[in-house]
Assembly symmetry: D3
Homo-oligomer: 154 residues x 6
């Protein structure tokens, strides 16, 4: 039998946001995929065997922002106003930035972070035939505004 | 108008794996969530405001492995034989390891990586009320076996 | 703060079925929705305000069998061969029977039970404008065959 | 050929709630899983072969509340404010209670009932290796408030 | 290698609708499935081998309207107020009309068109054993109201 | 009350394919989106306000092939080997061709048709700001092979 947890832990709960005000929320997340030389060259040239990873990653990121609440158990399902996902080739691989906006009672960090992660996984998937050692890193919140706690900038 | 891509790129395509042999495949992926002191303490104690992040992250990781092909455009939809997701508190936050197995014509790396990413997002979500600066890093393939190219170990 | 669990529990794991044989599996589940007189009469006559609950419940049950592994965390995602969902008006409300078949390494009980539960929820939903006190009961496995442990009949 | 329905029935329709007022809605649903002695003991001790059913069922219930409108054809898709799912060991098995809140034009009964059913299916799934005869029963609405028809209590 | 696109194209973006007003929106879409004589006769009589295509297509259309934003990358996910899907046998096959309403910052055309397409695919699927040559045609927007640009009627 | 159906119809059923042989299946579907002059010009130039519709439609088509069984009630959920979606600008708008392959007990027509329909809806969505009168037409099966009934060519 597997080792049992040495903790007695609190039940998971989706926090009630019903008493919060509807405000205009924005969140920006970023992340990177570190790629080997060959993958980076093929990706930038649009010549990866599976096709153009950059457009595919943008589309995937946008879809993932909308389905963040299906992926992440305690993430509220909210209607999003706008989603932008930038996927930019860099000297070490690819930089991803996702920007999400909504008028809602809760923030949209998870949507921006989920978009970033899904875009990164898509880049990985499309590069993996030429680079099995790619690494997805530094997925983090860059900026957040519209909530009770004011503006956050990393 | 937004800047246009300076590339003319190949169409995306889901590679045909029909000529490959069905073999027993395994993939192991790992990743980390770097947390601040307070989040780390509350998480280890099972006292985060949203409840036990460790069990929630395990469940989410398992579900994400099964839905990898809905999240990632060129990932094949295959029946998985087994999924294990370990979420372990460490000195810097949380270490995640996902292990996926299948008898299939294609590997299960994306399933293991998607499980790792989703578990990491869940940890982030459950810690974010106490730590907005958490970072998800080093999501990578650790081991892969069963394919034509033999065993890979990072 | 909510009460913490007084248990230290084992991590969830999706059991590896890779060593099991592919066999022809079948599972049959049943359940009931107990309805008040008016709802029962309108349902049998096809005159509920939301339309024909019986056909809608059949369709829903079939779809739920296919998505059982998205709903239930440790349920394997497998290709199903056939699904039948019967929804029959009775003296007390509605009787549901779901029959699922697959050639697989694991049983299809959860698919049959999920189909039954989803069909029952659909009946409830379509009757609730005229009967808020409906009860879904006795969702259970009736029969199962094809696994290592032979045929089970309740 | 299968027996044809002896009914000519009304088309299904998703009722238009656009003219209703947005109010604060709440619904509470309950259900039970009746388990044999051994399953009950292992579940309470967190020693089931598949791991901790109680935390897994809570997570599943919360996710099912958010996806109720994908499961149930005529259920409106609405943004939920909060979801709590309690899964409590009892003398006969497990008692489940789901509480859902939203500011919406329509009630959240189906979300609470879907959460209860999904949590119950998860408990069944995690116990079935040791108890094939478990029964899911008495899934019903306990309380509802916020609609035109006032507060309902069973 | 596949032929590369001869275009350098703009990144996809989900347009921000946050500055638009919430208004009562409606969209109506229509489409047809052209069927051979035998399929048409069996469908009208409810005697197709897979069962009643008309009710199944209505249910599917309603569900597809709700999941339009999961299917179509740049379609906003919004709460819908009401959905009606009519599936009517005609002299050449089947006519489908989907009507969707919401109070939202963006129109519901895609929801109505997705409902029509999904209902048409369902009719095709249920007729294909007797008619492989069926054609889905003329899926188009018939009417749209509630947006800044006023009422549109084809 | 809405008009009731004047038919008593057979229950829907997902046909059991368990007795069929696993063979290599292929299906090809095609469809068109008829666009006005301006939309056609902007799409071909990659200058539509929402970005590059051609790459987005390809990605969407591939994802829709994999989720055909979630969209279409009686469509079997099977593991697909390969998916190609071509989206080609023409004199009247856009021509779409989807090609799907699997080793399975049932054909993959619905997967190819769903891919075509979803790609067409995506083109519509991305053109609709400049052309509300676009029409999706002639979604049909072009070729099918691998089943008991041999090769079909339209």
């Amino acid at each position: 039998m597997r080792k049992r947890d040495q903790r007695a832990a609190a039940p998971v709960t989706m926090v009630d946001v019903g008493a919060k005000r509807v405000t205009r929320r924005q969140a920006v997340a970023r992340g990177r995929v570190v790629l080997g030389d060959r993958a980076r060259r093929l990706l930038a040239a649009g010549e990866l065997p599976k096709g153009d990873a950059i457009q595919a990653a943008r589309v995937t990121g946008i879809m993932a922002a909308k389905s963040a609440s299906s992926l992440i158990p305690l993430c509220h399902n909210i209607a999003l106003d706008g989603i932008e996902v930038e996927v930019t080739p860099t000297a070490e691989g690819v930089e991803i930035e996702a920007r999400v906006r909504a008028r809602a009672r809760t923030g949209v960090e998870m949507e921006a972070l989920a978009a970033t992660a899904a875009a990164a996984l898509t880049v990985y998937d499309m590069c993996k035939a030429v680079d099995r050692a790619a690494v997805i890193s530094d997925i983090r919140l860059i900026e957040k505004s519209g909530g009770r706690s004011g503006r956050y900038r990393r």
